[in-house]
C-alpha cells in the first residue's frame, strides 16, 4: 500500500512538498514504517539526523499511534517531531 507521511516542524526539511510517500506491505506496523522512513531519509535527505526520526511520533488526525499499532487503512499518517508549542 502507498502511505503518505505528512511532515511537520524540522522534518518539513526532508521534502519540500511537505510529505513523503512510501510503499509498505498491508498491515505494516508503525515500527516498520519508522524503519522504512529512516532509510528513506538517510538516502534522500541526509541533513536530517536519524535520531530525529527516532524521537518522532506518528499520528492520525485523531490520536498518536505508537510502535505496535498498524498504519491506518487510508494510508494517511503524520510524523510529529518533538513538540515546542506555547
Amino acid at each position: 500500500m502507498k502511505v503518505r507521511i505528512t511532515l511537520f516542524g524540522a522534518l518539513r526539511d526532508a521534502d519540500s512538498r511537505g510529505y513523503i510517500e512510501l510503499d509498505m506491505p498491508e498491515q505494516s506496523t508503525i515500527a516498520a514504517l519508522r524503519e522504512a522512513l529512516q532509510h528513506h531519509v538517510h538516502d534522500h535527505a541526509p541533513p536530517i539526523s536519524a535520531g530525529l526520526v527516532q524521537r518522532s511520533a506518528f499520528a492520525s488526525e485523531h490520536e498518536i499511534l505508537h510502535n505496535h499499532r498498524t498504519v491506518p487503512e487510508d494510508g494517511q499518517i503524520a510524523i510529529l517531531p518533538p513538540v515546542s508549542g506555547g
Binding site: 524540522a10 488526525e61 506555547g86
Partner: protein, 169 residues
C-alpha cells in the same frame, strides 16, 4: 462540551484575544479566573530573536486541547470553564502565542486548571516553533518527544537529575 473552548488562530487573520477568553469563561458560578498569556520574547538561549513561526497539526491539536480540558476538569473535580487558543503562522516580538483561561468557584482550582492546561499544551500538543534570528538564521526549537520510548527515557533522566523537566522550556 460547551464549557471548554479550543481554537487554533491563524495570525494572518487576526491576533489572539484575551478579552474573548475572559468573556468565555465568565460565569455567575465562578469567583476565580486564572489566565496565562504566552508572548513572543526578544531573546532565547542568548540569541536575539526577530520573530517566530508556529507550525501545527491542526486537527490533532484541537482534539488534544479538548482532551487536556477534560483532564483539567477531572483534576479540579468540580465545575470549570476553560479556554485554550494557540496561534499559527508568523509572529513578531510581543505577539500573543497562546492564551489559556480557567474559571472555577475559587482561586485554587482555577490556578491548578490553568497550570495543567498550559503545561500540557507546551509538552504534548502537536505544535512546532521556528525561531528567526537577527543574523538571518533560523532554527526549529528543541522540543519534547511524543514517542513513548523517548518520553520514558526523558522521565528517567528527570528522575536522575532531579530537575522539574528534562530540558529548559
Amino acid at each position: 462540551m460547551t464549557d471548554i473552548y479550543t481554537a487554533v488562530v491563524d495570525i494572518s487573520h487576526g491576533p489572539l484575544d484575551p478579552t474573548a477568553a475572559l468573556d468565555f469563561v465568565s460565569d455567575p458560578r465562578f469567583g476565580g479566573i486564572a489566565t496565562f498569556i504566552g508572548r513572543v520574547r526578544q531573546h532565547n538561549l542568548g540569541r536575539a530573536v526577530t520573530g517566530v513561526s508556529y507550525d501545527l497539526f491542526e486537527p490533532l491539536a484541537l482534539r488534544m486541547f479538548q482532551d487536556i480540558g477534560e483532564r483539567a476538569r477531572a483534576e479540579v473535580g468540580g465545575p470549570l470553564k476553560l479556554y485554550i487558543a494557540h496561534a499559527k503562522g508568523d509572529l513578531r516580538i510581543g505577539d500573543l502565542a497562546v492564551v489559556v483561561a480557567a474559571a472555577t468557584p475559587h482561586r485554587d482550582e482555577a490556578f491548578r486548571a490553568c497550570r495543567l492546561a498550559i503545561e500540557a499544551v507546551k509538552h504534548e500538543a502537536p505544535i512546532w516553533k521556528k525561531e528567526h534570528y537577527v543574523d538571518g538564521d533560523s532554527a526549529w526549537s528543541e522540543g519534547c518527544s511524543l514517542c513513548e520510548e523517548h518520553r520514558e527515557a526523558e522521565r528517567q533522566a528527570v528522575k536522575q537529575h532531579g530537575d522539574a523537566h528534562g530540558h529548559g522550556h
